[in-house]
């Protein structure tokens, strides 16, 4: 009897134990899983900010590798770094910094997931949904535009990877034209969807998508045989920007001292305790070189990081040629103490607080001055040279404090040359000059380390890093860099 009770108790007990099996399904509290993501509007908006956070880490350092360093206008500071020397020498080797596209495609995948998932999420307003989608198209179009110009042929991916059995997981490099075509489609989609009322600065806006459109169509016109149609598309986009809420800062220095200045159209945000650093951290004088404490910030801008980059003597001379130019001191500073000549790029000094440097300067991706120079470029290309001079003079007037700095009777060729000159003066270390050189077709004239090298295959492109090839056997090295 007793035995039977014991057995029954045991069986009952075992049954109760089995009842605990449900405890194995635990909803973790601290992170979102694939099961709980993509349900609400706020998931979608959070994901868009995630896209911009990825974009920031993609470009924080490399923005100037692609846009500036190959111009050979920059070189070592207190110390030099071989990787930057190679970019300046236009001797790009595989595995050089900047050759790995992983961050570009990570950001693109994040965009793709937004574009894939957002259509099935319900929003309070269509305008908000369109803004979310427009931002994803804007960033993806921006990145494909850069990828096409950096690597040429490259994978074009639009599906959004969530598992490892999707068929396009192992892509080959698509022809460069296809990459540009994807950029064009995305940019037009962004313009189509972006509500005109959106005027954000650190994320996409009506002005930002139109700047990107102008940037792209100018390139298409000049480099991809886009012809008059492309110029007109760029003109349309620029007219939208110029009709927008943007105004030139009265003084050039304000552009960099006030990151919210209405001149700015799109900036990538850097904030203390959120994300700091980037290329700007390599510009200032390391504290250990400044033996006299009184010079710190007065005037020597110091950082805790080694100064691997500064401008070259030739560029310094070019920027200093016009005494009236109010941009010179903003772009760079020189201080000669007893033993050292300190020279540093002065635009992105971030914050100095508690005797500590915080590299919090935003990357100004688009600002009105560039819209004006682009407008000048478009009008000049369309044959409206006097109008072009007018836009060029808008920028020059602020810089030199002189109205009609450039005479209206300049030839079209002279105007193009002046636009490039002004780009070099206006956009020191803003990631613009290399692209301008290539777009105007003057890279081999203006870059000493490219002189006579027109025959080298794909010299204006970049090799891809081994990591791109080693993770995907379908990827081939950029021709000319094997």
């Amino acid at each position: 009897m007793k035995l039977r009770i014991s057995i029954l108790t045991l069986i009952a007990g075992t049954g109760m134990l089995a009842g605990c099996h449900g405890d194995l399904d635990i909803a973790q509290k601290s992170q979102i899983t694939s099961v709980s993501m993509w349900k609400t509007e706020s998931d979608a908006i959070g994901a868009v900010y995630g896209v911009y956070a990825q974009l920031r880490s993609t470009l924080a350092d490399s923005y100037i590798y692609y846009g500036d360093l190959r111009t050979n206008l920059y070189g070592g500071g207190m110390m030099s770094e071989p990787a930057f020397d190679k970019m300046g020498a236009n001797v790009l080797t595989r595995d050089l910094a900047g050759t790995n596209w992983v961050s570009f495609y990570t950001t693109i995948n994040d965009c793709n997931l937004v574009l894939k998932k957002v259509p099935s999420i319900s929003f309070n307003s269509d305008a908000k949904r369109n803004e979310v989608l427009a931002n994803a198209y804007f960033v993806r179009g921006f990145l494909y535009f850069w990828i096409a110009r950096i690597w040429g042929d490259a994978p074009v991916l639009t599906s959004g990877f969530e598992s490892d059995n999707q068929e396009d997981l192992y892509p080959a490099r698509a022809p460069q034209a296809q990459v540009f075509a994807q950029a064009e489609a995305d940019i037009n989609k962004a313009v189509e969807l972006m509500p005109r009322s959106v005027s954000e600065l650190k994320t996409g806006s009506w002005g930002a998508v139109n700047m990107l459109k102008a940037d792209y169509y100018l390139w298409k016109a000049k480099r991809l045989n886009g012809g008059r149609d492309a110029l007109l598309a760029a003109q349309t986009a620029l007219n939208e920007v110029l009709a927008g809420p943007y105004v030139l800062a009265p003084q050039f220095k304000t552009v960099f001292s006030n990151e919210e200045d209405p001149e700015h159209i799109f900036s990538i945000d850097f904030t203390r305790d959120e994300y700091t650093g980037g290329f700007a951290s390599m510009y200032l004088i390391p504290l250990q070189y400044v033996s006299d404490d009184r010079l710190v910030e007065n005037p020597v801008k110091v950082g805790s990081h080694q100064q691997y980059l500064s401008i070259t003597d030739a560029y310094e001379a070019f920027l200093s040629a016009e005494a009236k130019d109010t941009r010179t001191d903003v772009s760079f500073m020189v201080y000669q103490d007893v033993e050292n000549r300190f020279r540093w790029i002065n635009k992105f000094v971030g914050e100095w607080a508690n005797d500590t440097r915080f590299f919090t300067s935003d990357i100004p991706v688009y600002r009105l001055a560039e819209a004006l120079l682009m407008k000048a470029e478009v009008e000049n290309a369309l044959g409206n040279t006097p109008d072009a001079v007018g836009y060029l003079n808008d920028v020059a007037e602020r810089a030199y404090g002189v109205e009609d700095y450039y005479p209206a009777n300049l030839s079209a060729a002279e105007v193009d040359e002046k636009i490039v000159d002004e780009t070099m003066k206006e956009f020191v270390s803003e990631g613009k000059i290399w692209w301008a050189f290539v777009r105007f077709g003057v890279a081999f004239d203006r870059v000493a380390t490219l002189t006579g090298r027109e025959d080298e295959t794909n010299l204006l492109l970049w090799p891809v890093a081994s990591a791109c090839i080693n993770t995907n056997p379908k990827i081939e090295q950029t021709e000319g860099y094997n």
């Binding site: 014991s6 057995i7 045991l10 069986i11 075992t14 134990l17 605990c20 099996h21 194995l24 635990i26 973790q28 601290s30 992170q31 979102i32 899983t33 694939s34 959070g46 994901a47 900010y49 995630g50 911009y52 956070a53 207190m78 071989p82 190679k86 001797v91 595995d95 596209w101 992983v102 495609y105 793709n112 997931l113 991916l157 990877f161 969530e162 598992s163 490892d164 997981l169 892509p171 650190k202 945000d269 904030t271 959120e274 504290l287 250990q288 070189y289 033996s291 006299d292 404490d293 805790s304 033993e339 050292n340 607080a353 508690n354 081994s466 990591a467 791109c468 080693n470 993770t471 995907n472």
Partner: protein
């Protein structure tokens, strides 16, 4: 459902058997040696059963045995004895020495078993191995002492625990840490006082560890703490020991005079000759009072200041340089005190047995600003409620306080790059900083930073053991373990950072476990059977909280409230549940033919629904040949047992989000919360399953004076949890999949001998050798040669591709690669014809110019792997392996009258270290301000010099041709070592001299720990192989040697 059915059937079976039983009672007694001294650890077994116990420190035992049954008493070093149980309830025994024992009791999962009937691979070390040596942690005392188990220290900072690897582990990407259970509680070893430990049992093969199912692939370590004995005590033990600590080895640097000579000469030939005269350079003649460097010209008419030395300027001998000659190594690492105190109480009546102890260990830390202390308390109680019902309870508390460097890479590896001419302190007495924020002088770091960590660990366990009928026992245990770690960090305002960041964190872990099992033991004539089945439920909760603040107005307040800028606030909460059903059957025929079957069915919350449950079986068999008639009477062979086992275990060490995918919410953009995809989902994930074959032999000769135990094992892990690398265009670096297979195979040998055994003198030896090799069998398909992950793809001169490195099928793990020197360039012609070196800046002393890629006289010519005439990342050669293939130990114990001398050595062979901390001591980076190795004197200087070091050229990394900055074979050494780990000399004061003082025992011990490594490795510990010592994850705290004096008093 099937498992539940199985349990019911088993249960019914047990009950059916239970009708046959006999009267039993509790037998107690004391075991002593021929001198009347109690013998601890004697195995007491009821013959013909698996029931057994061991004697406590007083020699007491207590066991249930029926009238007429035979008690077997055995212990290594003593002749075994058998006594038939009569009417008496107390049986005292005297054991004769001279033979090495066969019958120890080993702890198996959920029970104990006599060594005689064990058929799987289980190693045991008694607590005495951890006694009388100055160690902080349990693992420190076990190095080289257990066959098949490799204890090695990766971090020598005070209080850090060694890593445990059993038979090489089981995984490639996932944890290779064994499951550690202390009195049944899953926890790490830190916080446990080595004095409290009664035994350490290690389950090495699958048959023994399968009872722990999904967490057992890396083996299981079972630690049993001391318990009280019936009818004894109360006895009080006091121990105190005091040790002097110092570094066992450190790097040697050039002194200031040599340093100045080398640096000034090199700088004068380099691109920045002005550094020889400017303010703020270590060897410059132009330093002012502002500079942290002391070197400068002696002013006309000035006497050499106090604390300065002088020398002629090597560049201009007419001038006199003055400088300080400081040794930062000597400043940072100073002799430190280590102290340990322990009070233990134990005893018992027939009904209640108890132990209680308190311990305090304090390690003042050899490196400035580091230290460790531990307070521990533990008590165990066993209460015999009735003849058939026993209650057990245990409690332990440990508190550790630690100050450690947040980054040894910055503070030690880079901190020691402070040159000898650097002033140690400023005029105001504060330490001078280092060159930059990430290479502080360690003194400066310690002065600026508070890193206080406190961990409280509390374990409580209780259980009931109910002998329902004779032979049938029900056990239920519950335990709670909590660990609360807090850290408080503050950095005072300094030259590099004026924001006074402070942070505080709290990690709270809690593990609750409920286990119940039934066991039944029965002998029918020549057949013995023992069956056990049970259930386990475990819940683990984790919470992490961290907050940070900055911008406090002064250095006075290190806490967060003073910082107006709150920079971080985060909490993380996680939970895991593990449910298991397990069972075991032991059967033997005449103690000659042995069989054990084991299973466990585990469910884990880490996996997605549908893939949560796994089944893990094990089987082992043994044949005791020495029980066969042919050997039974052999004088030479006293024991011979063949064992074979086979089974499967799991490794469920995956991340919480690996199966479900993760979107991170820790990112912000423009101050707004952002969501970022961070891991790809894979709902089909399941455990790694390890299948292990073990074949072993236990053999004893000459009445067990020589005992050998040897095992061969072959374990293959399938369904390897593998981060399958994804194309870097996919948005994710990798996805965790169950693809891949790896094999670990090898052997363990343990040899114990009693070499000499006379009345007054004995000599015992113990030799351990563990060998393990590994091979990757299968990897995820990725289209590459051998499905290689990582590594190098090299285009050879003929256009063919060669792949090597990384992880690949058919190759072992843990290899690393680097550049290899061909020769040192001796003539300008050789330099002109040298291969284009992509990492060379091409500086030449002769023309003072940079030409990228060219070489100078005295540079290394690197070997060109692919024959393309260019030296770059394609020219990699195999340099070494980070894991040793062989480890082991060799111990000798000599006893003469009341003196005991114990010498233990351990060793490891086959691993290598690429020491980039050391190579950078030739680089003179930081704008020629970093310190230089004493070996710089051996660098190449002129044609014909026979040396492995290229020329010294000043700032090799930033200014010249990267001979030393390049990762190469020059700084890769075999890290083989033999460590003189422990020596102890103990004197036991004879008992009769103490009696009148009321003292029971008094022992005085002189001992040493980590006395010397015989190795080629310089400056750092040879125990951990690595592809780079210059890494933020590498611990450069040097090994620490201790000399101690200890006193043990028993009342």
């Amino acid at each position: 459902m099937s498992k539940i059915k199985t349990i019911c059937l088993l249960t019914a079976f047990l009950f059916a058997l239970s009708s046959l039983s006999a009267q039993t009672g509790n037998i107690t007694g004391t075991v002593s040696d021929k001198n009347g001294q109690p013998v601890q650890g004697v195995a007491v077994i009821v013959k013909g059963t698996t029931t057994g116990t061991t004697t406590d420190p007083e020699g007491h035992y207590s066991i249930r045995a029926s009238q007429g049954s035979i008690l077997e008493f055995s212990f290594i070093g003593y002749m075994p004895r058998e006594v038939t149980v009569g009417n008496e309830s107390v049986i005292d025994i005297t054991l004769a020495e001279a033979v090495v024992g066969l019958d120890e009791v080993v702890v198996v999962g959920y029970g104990t078993q006599s060594r005689r009937t064990v058929t799987s691979a289980i190693s045991k070390v008694g607590g005495e191995a951890l006694q009388d040596i100055p160690i902080n942690s349990v693992g420190d005392g076990l190095k080289g002492k257990i066959a098949g188990v490799h204890f090695y220290t990766t971090n020598n900072t005070p209080g850090a625990d060694p890593i445990i690897r059993i038979r090489g582990g089981s995984s490639i990407n996932r944890s290779n840490e064994p499951l550690v259970l202390v009195d049944g509680i899953e926890r790490d070893l830190s916080g446990i006082n080595p004095n409290d430990i009664a035994s350490v049992d290690v389950l090495k093969d699958a048959a023994s560890s399968a009872i722990y199912g999904s967490r057992a692939s890396n083996g299981v370590v079972l630690i049993t703490t001391k318990r009280g004995t019936a009818d004894s005590g109360p006895r009080i033990t006091f121990e105190g020991s005091w040790a002097l600590q110092q570094t066992e080895r450190t790097y040697e640097f050039l002194n200031a005079q040599d340093y100045i000579s080398y640096v000034r000469t090199a700088v004068s030939q380099g691109p920045h000759p002005d550094y020889n005269f400017k303010d703020g350079y270590s060897a410059s003649s132009g330093n002012t009072d502002n500079s942290i460097y002391s070197t400068r010209y002696l002013n006309p008419g000035e006497a050499v200041p106090a604390g300065y030395q002088s020398m002629p300027d090597p560049l201009d001998p007419m001038k006199t340089l003055i400088f300080q000659d400081n040794s930062f190594v000597d400043e940072v690492f100073q002799n430190a005190l280590w102290q340990n105190y322990y009070i233990g109480l134990d005893g018992g009546t027939r009904k209640v047995r108890y132990t209680a102890s308190m311990g305090y260990t304090d390690d003042a830390g050899v490196a400035v600003g580091t230290n460790f202390s531990r307070f521990s308390a533990r008590s165990n109680a066993d209460v015999q409620i009735s003849d058939r019902l026993k209650f057990t309870a245990g409690f332990d508390f440990g508190q550790t306080l630690t100050n450690a460097y947040a980054s040894q890479h910055q503070v030690i590896s880079r901190g020691l790059y402070c040159p000898p001419t650097q002033k140690i302190r400023n005029a105001d007495g504060t330490p001078t900083p280092g060159y930059n924020a990430s290479s502080p002088s360690p003194l400066y770091y310690a002065y600026l930073n508070d890193n206080d960590q406190k961990i409280n660990k509390l374990g409580i366990n209780g259980g009931l053991e109910w002998e329902i009928i004779d032979g049938l026992k029900a056990n239920a245990t519950a335990s709670l373990y909590t660990s609360t770690a807090t850290g408080d960090y503050f950095t005072r305002a300094n030259k590099f950072n004026g924001t006074r960041p402070s942070s505080s964190d709290l990690t709270d872990q809690q593990r609750k476990k409920l286990e119940a099992y039934l066991s039944y033991t029965r002998t029918f004539g020549n057949h013995s059977l023992s069956v056990m089945a049970g259930y386990s439920y475990q819940d683990y909760k984790y919470k992490y909280l961290k907050a940070s603040a900055a911008d406090a107005i002064s250095d006075k307040i290190p806490t967060l409230n003073a910082g107006p800028t709150k920079t971080e606030a985060t909490t993380t909460m996680e939970e895991q549940v593990l449910i298991g059903y397990f069972g075991r059957v032991n059967y033997d025929y005449k103690k000659k033919y042995l069989l054990t079957l084991t299973f466990r069915e585990d469910g884990s919350s880490l996996f997605a629904s549908g893939n949560q449950w796994g089944f893990f079986p094990g089987a082992s068999a043994g044949w005791v040949i020495s029980e066969e008639p042919c050997l039974k009477s052999s004088m030479a062979v006293s024991n011979l047992k063949l064992r074979v086992s086979y089974g499967q275990t799991g490794n469920n060490a995956i991340g919480l989000y690996d199966a479900l995918g993760q979107y991170g919410v820790d990112t912000k953009y423009n101050g707004i919360g952002a969501i970022v995809p961070s891991s790809m989902t894979n709902p089909t994930l399941t455990w790694e399953t390890t299948t292990q074959l073990d074949a072993g032999v236990d053999v004893g000769f000459l009445n067990q004076r020589i005992q050998l135990s040897a095992d061969y094992f072959n374990k293959v892990t399938d369904d390897l949890l593998f981060n399958k690398t994804l194309p870097n265009t996919s948005g994710f670096g990798s996805i965790l999949t169950n693809v891949g297979k790896v094999r670990f195979s090898g052997f363990d040998i343990e040899l114990n001998t009693r070499n000499i055994n006379t009345k007054n003198f004995s000599w015992d030896s113990r030799f351990i050798w563990s060998y393990v090799k590994n091979e990757v069998v299968k990897l995820p398909d990725n289209g590459r040669d051998r499905n290689r992950i990582g590594g190098y793809t090299v285009t050879m001169a003929d256009g063919s591709k060669r792949e090597f490195g990384g992880t690949a099928e058919g190759e072992p793990l843990y290899r690393f690669y680097g550049y290899q020197t061909d020769y040192i360039i001796e003539t300008m012609e050789q330099a002109d014809n040298a291969r284009y070196d992509e990492s060379s800046r091409g500086w030449r002393v002769s023309d003072g110019k940079y030409v990228l890629g060219r070489k100078d006289v005295g540079d290394y010519e690197w070997k060109d792997f692919n024959g393309d005439g260019r030296i770059n990342g394609q020219d990699m050669f195999y340099m070494g392996t980070t894991m040793p293939h062989s480890t082991g130990g060799f111990g000798n114990t000599f006893a003469y009258k009341n003196f005991t001398l114990n010498i233990y050595m351990d060793w490891a062979l086959g691993h290598s270290i690429c020491d980039q901390i050391f190579s950078r001591q030739f680089v003179n980076f930081f704008a020629n301000n970093s310190s230089l190795s004493a070996e710089v004197k051996k660098t190449w200087q002129k044609p014909g010099d026979k040396t492995k070091y290229a020329r010294f050229s000043g700032n090799d990394s930033d200014d010249t041709n990267r001979n030393f900055r390049t990762v190469s074979n020059v700084f890769t050494t075999k890290a083989d070592y033999l460590c003189l780990r422990e020596i102890s000399l103990q004197y036991n004061v004879p008992a009769e001299k103490l009696k009148k003082l009321g003292i029971y025992g008094l022992a005085v011990t002189l001992s040493g720990n980590n006395l010397h490594y015989f190795t080629k490795v310089k400056g750092i510990s040879p125990e951990t192989g690595t592809a780079s010592t210059y890494s933020s994850s590498y611990f450069s705290y040097p090994p620490i040697r201790r000399f101690s004096l200890g006193v043990k008093l028993t009342f």
